[in-house]
């Protein structure tokens, strides 16, 4: 147990304690209790920056060592980048939420407990080296996200959003678990580092591609890639600090983390490159186009998050091509990975600040609908400035950090055309074109967010509240984030060397040997094709923004139904529920006969199927005993009584015939040299008949409820089937004895050991006395049951008496 373990579990422990302290500190906002934890963790992780640039820190805590499942943490560059984002933005979000959530009307202890559990889960995901532990924390993020989305559980939309995100992310999580287990089967290890070092040896295993696809499903569902993006817009029902933290900066990047982490393993295959690039670029386009038609600020931001995640995913896809080249020094595709990490950082900063801005606008005006907002620039100048920085960074305009990462994105994409790999010479041109279109739409919705909220005329009559500038506490966290947006934009190398370099080296392990590798983001000067693409984005973006009234209605109304993935999900869930309900109603009729039909049919099918498929029908008539006249007569009597019972229409006939059958069987026992059986059968048959008569005296004649006997009905089919099956078993089983009966022992020892001469009786009370004991118990229970049934009248009779 090292400090790193404590660091991961600290928020969780705090989450357990906060509800306790909450009761004692009624006057204090609970957020102040939670705030120190992410701050301390952030500082703690900052101290790792110099160390991590050299080598990764590891620590192990044994959990289930027998199965190789240990709580091993590895802090390398990639994990550190994520850990800093999680704790840093976590601190800001907790601070923001103190001013955002009212002290008296919210259940704050729940809120902070969930949030801190989420923080533990997220830190666990990015720091775990063990697949199973990673999966554990992964699902914990799903669960805590579910709790946070459904925080206002009295709202129907919140519950819907929480359920939807749970269904989709847990589906992905389970798929990922399958992929992890396949990795374990291939490498016999749960440790990610060991698996990565085994990468070349498993690349032609049959589980390699399935494991890749399953793990990618997990990553895509978590990171809201098309078509699994549908949960993210609905997750916007969560309180805004949650949206800012989980659904823009941290949790949705867990999928990106998984993709980056497993790049050294799976990038060997071209499938990895194609799947990630295509899904990423599709998501980017889909998210950016859909964002333009939304009118709710948070919905726009949700689709914009989807789009930006798609962009980072694309970059990771392109970057995976770098593994196919030996030389790392002049490898241009490494820059894609750098761009991915850089944009991941940038996106967390500007998207976090934009969500906080959306929260402020909501908090101060009472609405997030951009059709009702406008002209807030004069009323809320600081908020407007933050929004300006955030949106322009998102649109990729200098001098903000989004510009740099977008430039690097375009550069990587233009390089892809020259990629002499995976047949990319021919269709590689599609990627930059699609990315460019998506960037134009990104520009448009970014401008919509800023100009429709803060520019133009104020519409005070449309606003539920009189708007005014937010309090300092609400403004401080987005200001800090905006400062990062500007600062990183102007001085990118400030974070490049200490944070991005180790992260890229962690993704591309072969790179760590290349000592000459250094990231130099300042290279953005110069007239590259990427610069012209950006100019094109701005020009076309302005054009599209000016003409938005003519084309946005077209997008929102003319999109074919097949592309409405959210609708498809809803219908799917509806029909799943309906279908299983109908199936249950159809199969479970409530009639005893239906169930008997199922059972008997299964019995016949299984017996006859087994007999014929395994070819076990064998009749050996050599060893049969002779049929005497008595046997024939007795069999004939039984047969006649059977027919009589089946077709009798009066109960007395049935009872007498049943008795006759019982006595005939006792004669069978006589000729089979079984005197005890014959005696018992006689006595019991007599008592049974008496009992039948006694009970039937109180029952009506066979009422006319029976249907007419039909030759072809389920009933006849099943009864004949059972009869045939039993006969066939009897015939096949008879005389297939492979060894002698153990009765030899009984016969030999009955007198010697047990001092008895009646072998059957000695077996019953001596050799196998336990059978007899419990058979007696059965009789006792039956008699007590009968007594109870007759005596105990709790409901019906009493009711009747009261009515009379």
């Amino acid at each position: 147990m090292s400090l790193l373990h404590v660091a991961i579990l600290l928020p969780f422990i705090a989450a357990l304690l906060i509800p306790l302290f909450y009761r004692w500190t009624k006057k204090l906002h609970t957020g102040w209790l939670a705030l120190p934890i992410p701050v301390i963790l952030f500082i703690y992780f900052l101290t790792f920056i110099p160390k991590t640039a050299q080598k990764a820190t590891t620590a192990t805590l044994e959990w289930i060592p027998r199965y190789g499942i240990n709580f091993t943490v590895v802090l390398d560059g990639l994990s550190l980048l994520f850990a800093l984002l999680i704790t840093g933005i976590g601190s800001l979000v907790v601070f923001y939420s103190i001013f955002y959530l009212g002290k008296n009307k919210e259940r704050l202890n729940n809120f902070y407990a969930f949030l801190l559990i989420f923080m533990t889960a997220m830190l666990g995901v990015v720091l775990s080296d063990n697949l199973i532990v990673l999966y554990l924390f992964w699902e914990l993020t799903s669960i805590s996200s579910f709790l946070l989305i459904g925080y206002w559980y009295h709202r129907e939309r919140s519950r819907y959003g929480a359920r939807k995100s749970m269904m989709i992310t847990v589906f992905g999580g389970l798929m990922m678990l399958g992929g992890f287990l396949m990795l374990h089967i291939m490498t016999d290890s749960f440790s990610i580092r060991e698996i990565l070092s085994n990468a070349p040896s498993i690349s032609d295993n049959i589980f390699f591609i399935p494991a890749m696809i399953l793990i990618l499903l997990g990553a895509f569902t978590k990171s809201a890639q098309v078509p699994f993006h549908i949960w993210l817009p609905d997750a916007m029902e969560a309180p805004t600090p949650v949206s800012a933290y989980l659904h823009s900066a941290t949790m949705v990047k867990a999928g990106l983390y998984i993709v980056a982490r497993f790049t050294p393993l799976f990038a060997i295959s071209g499938v990895w490159f194609s799947v990630i690039s295509i899904v990423g670029i599709t998501t980017m386009l889909w998210g950016s186009v859909n964002a333009t038609k939304k009118t709710d600020l948070k919905a726009i931001l949700a689709y914009s998050t989807i789009s930006q995640l798609g962009m980072i995913m694309t970059l990771l896809g392109i970057g995976s091509a770098s593994l196919h080249f030996d030389s790392m020094n002049d490898n241009i595709y490494v820059m894609a990975i750098v761009a991915a990490m850089f944009h991941l950082f940038n996106h967390a900063t500007f998207k976090g600040s934009l969500f906080m801005v959306a929260g402020i606008v909501d908090h101060e005006t009472g609405t997030r609908d951009i059709r009702r907002l406008g002209g807030l620039m004069r009323i809320m100048p600081i908020t407007a400035t933050i929004a300006f920085i955030g949106t322009f960074a998102m649109a990729g305009i200098p001098p903000f950090n989004g510009f740099l990462s977008k430039e690097m994105f375009f550069e990587s994409l233009t390089e892809i055309i020259h990629l002499n790999l995976f047949n990319l010479e021919s269709w590689g041109i599609i990627l930059p074109v699609v990315a460019w279109i998506a960037s134009v739409f990104t520009f448009v919705y970014s401008m919509m967010i800023f100009f429709r909220t803060f520019a133009g005329k104020t519409k005070p009559y449309l606003l539920p509240k009189k708007p005014h500038e937010a309090s300092l506490g609400l403004l401080a966290p987005p200001v800090i984030l905006a400062a990062f947006v500007v600062g990183v934009g102007l001085f990118p190398n400030f974070i490049a060397a200490p944070i991005l370099e180790p992260a890229v080296k962690a993704i591309l392990p072969t790179l760590s040997h290349a000592s000459s590798f250094h990231i130099h983001i300042s290279f953005w000067h110069g007239f590259t094709p990427a610069l012209f693409m950006t100019i094109g984005v701005i020009v076309f973006g302005i054009l599209l923004y000016k003409t938005r009234r003519s084309w946005i209605p077209f997008i929102s109304s003319k999109v074919p139904k097949a592309f409405r993935i959210g609708k498809t999900y809803d219908n799917g869930m509806f029909y799943l529920e309906q279908g299983s309900y109908r199936l249950t109603m159809y199969v479970m009729t409530g009639w005893l006969r239906t169930y008997l039909n199922y059972m008997l049919f299964a019995f016949i099918a299984l017996i006859l199927g087994t007999l014929f498929i395994t070819d076990s029908l064998n009749f050996d008539f050599a060893n049969l005993t002779q049929i005497t006249l008595v046997d024939g007569v007795l069999a004939a009597v039984v047969f006649v009584t059977l027919i009589g019972i089946m077709f009798s229409r009066s109960r007395i006939t049935s009872i007498i015939l049943l008795g006759a059958m019982g006595y005939t069987i006792s004669i069978f026992f006589v000729i089979a040299s079984a005197p005890d059986l014959a005696l018992t059968q006689l006595v019991i048959e007599t008592i049974s008949v008496v009992l039948y008569l006694l009970v039937f005296y109180h029952l009506p004649q066979f009422s006319n409820i029976e249907e007419k006997p039909k030759l072809f009905s389920t009933k006849t089919f099943l009864s004949i089937g059972v009869g045939v099956a039993v006969t066939l078993i009897a015939l096949s089983a008879y005389d297939t004895t492979f060894y002698d009966s153990i009765s030899k022992y009984y016969i030999d020892n009955v007198y010697k050991e047990a001092a008895g001469k009646n072998i059957v009786n000695v077996i019953l009370v001596d050799f196998r006395g336990f059978d007899t004991l419990f058979e007696t118990a059965v009789l006792a229970i039956a008699s007590i049951g009968i007594f109870g049934m007759i005596k105990l009248r709790l409901t019906k009779r009493r009711k009747k008496n009261e009515n009379e």
């Binding site: 019972i645 409820i705 009869g723």
Partner: protein
């Protein structure tokens, strides 16, 4: 003999199933009684009706006895099936008292729950 018994047992099973699938509670109970007879004969037949001696020492000076183990098993089975049949009979009687019908259509699960 075993051939004859096998066919007879098959017939008994068929008749028992036919009765168990009927709508009247009484017929169902008769069906179960026939079924247990069939099973007893099945065990006896499979143990071999080898016309040996009655499995009691000292009646005849022979060592060829009929197999005693199936007989002990059947004896147990007879008693247990008797207990169960008796229970079923009283259950049917009580069901008739409560539901005023001996048709199993009255014993459908959720209808009874509605009361």
């Amino acid at each position: 003999m075993e051939l004859l018994m096998s066919i007879l047992i098959g017939l008994m099973f068929a008749a028992a199933v036919y009765l168990i699938l009927s709508k009247s509670l009484l017929r169902i109970i008769i069906g179960t009684a026939i079924l247990s007879h069939g099973v007893n004969l099945f065990v006896l037949t499979m143990g071999g009706i080898k016309r040996g001696n009655v499995p009691i020492l000292g009646i005849k000076a022979t060592s060829l006895y009929n197999d005693p183990l199936p007989q002990a098993l059947i004896l147990t089975a007879i008693v247990i099936s008797f207990g169960v049949t008796a229970f079923f009979l009283v259950l049917a009687y009580r069901a008739y008292q409560e539901l005023d019908s001996e048709s199993i259509s009255k014993t459908r699960g959720h209808e009874a729950d509605d009361e």
